[in-house]
Amino acid sequence: MKNRKMKFTALALAAACMMSFSACGSSIPENTVNSLADLDAGGKKIGVQTGTTGDLYSTDEYEAKKINTVERYNKGADAVQSLKQGKIDCVIIDTEPAKVFVEKNTDLKILDEPFADEEYAMSIDKSNTALKEEINAALTELKEDGTLDSIKKNYVGTDEEKGKTPYKSPEDVDTSKGKLIMATNAEFPPYEYYEDNKIVGIDADMAQAVADKLGRKLEIQDMAFDSIIAAVTAGKVDIGVAGMTVTEDRLQNVDFTDSYATSKQVIIVRAK
């Protein structure tokens, strides 16, 4: 009896495997997006991460005008996965994460033509002007003494520069003025991502440097990207730092500090 049961199990598993493989056989369609003009021609499926600038721009540019359809994913990585499987035609996303995705996936490429230019800044509640002034002053100092540049180079520099200049807090840093709580969405390399169970990246280091200047202890809270501004306005966190672009819609709800980085929105497509 036992033996018979084993046989059945094996049979059932084999059947299950066959069924799942039969569904995989389909081929991935050829890339049809080679320039912005191809997107303007219409009829494409654009993948984005919900609430990002890629989402906002492509919604305004294409979805509202019924030119292309926009598919929104929780994570940029999910959109890229769908692109690889041919479920969508391209992904519009910030240039740095795009480079990371393409580096890891040789079957993808970034189009030379950027989709849009943008500036990153920290979001902060409108009532919190005192903190905003403090942060702006700290940012100006960090820009002038080269700290900001060396933080960026540590993550996105040339191969020789990468990993060479990690930010370290000064030895005698004081944290007497309390906490600086930052909201982020740590799925956005190289700006913020997990490494050894810790959130690292340009934004994390830059915020740490700002906190050191302010005499506060940095605390990072990871959340969904589209919850960050809600957390800032609700006063749950002090600042939102997540490669966040300054846009008109966002300015209706929050203030932004001075910009600390410039970036581009680019288009990822399948290489073939």
Binding site: F8, A64, R72, D78, Q81, Q85, F225, A230, Q252
Partner: protein, 233 residues
């Protein structure tokens, strides 16, 4: 008040944002409806296999095999989270570019629901006194007919509240569709939320729509229950 009107305008009127909720609602209803049908079909089939197997002294080769398959299905489906099943369907099984998200979601939720419906229906069948089967058989009905005309109608009435519960859960469970980028009702609210950065109105509206749907469903089931009860006399 004017602030509220402004918010309302920004959340729903501007750029026709209410359409996200409408298409989302449509998708949610479509997925739930067909998933319920699939769930009922799979559920009843498995429940009959399992209860027939359990009631028989010497189940044959085929029944043993089907029972084992059912058990594997129940274990796997009930042992893994729906979200994970949805992601597996979308990213591993249906990798084809032509596989529609709606189809993937409907199948996943249908197969998921089937496992729960199966056990609910089995509990109903097992709750019917063995004498009912004996009575049916001594009236000259064969096994299948006794099942169909005597056991199942009684079992169905017993499990109706539990079944309604399962379908309510299913309706709300579809809110995880956003994981595969499918614009269901919850996702519709999220899209508005991510465009306007207002959490208040979109979330409350979405909650209210789910609540209304569940109330409607409960009312329908209540009506059915009452009708079945009157036929008792």
């Amino acid at each position: 008040m004017s602030h509220f009107i402004e918010l309302f305008h920004r959340d729903f009127i501007q750029d026709n944002r209410y359409k996200y909720l409408l298409t989302g609602l449509g998708n949610t209803l479509l997925i739930t409806f067909f998933a319920v049908l699939i769930g009922i079909f799979i559920g009843f089939l498995i429940a009959i296999i399992r209860s027939s197997h359990d009631k028989m002294d010497r189940p044959g080769f085929l029944l043993n095999f089907l029972n084992l398959l059912s058990k594997i299905y129940l274990t796997v489906i009930r042992g893994t989270p729906t979200v994970v099943q949805l992601l597996i369907s979308f990213f591993i099984i249906f990798t084809s570019p032509n596989a529609s998200k709606l189809m993937v979601a409907t199948l996943t939720f249908g197969i998921n629901s089937g496992a729960y419906v199966a056990e609910i229906v089995r509990s109903g069948i097992m709750s019917i006194d063995a004498g009912q089967m004996e009575a049916g058989r001594s009236l000259g009905l064969n096994y299948a007919k006794t099942m169909r005309f005597i056991i199942m109608p009684q079992a169905f009435k017993n499990v109706l509240p539990a079944l309604a519960n399962e379908f309510i859960v299913l309706l709300k469970e579809t809110s995880v569709c956003g994981y595969i980028g499918l614009a269901d009702l919850t996702r519709g609210g999220d899209i508005i939320r991510s465009a306007t950065y207002d959490a208040f109105l979109p979330l409350l509206t979405v909650a209210a729509i789910y609540l209304i749907m569940v109330c409607g469903l409960s009312a329908l089931v209540g009506k059915l229950e009452r009708r079945l009860r009157t036929s008792e006399r």
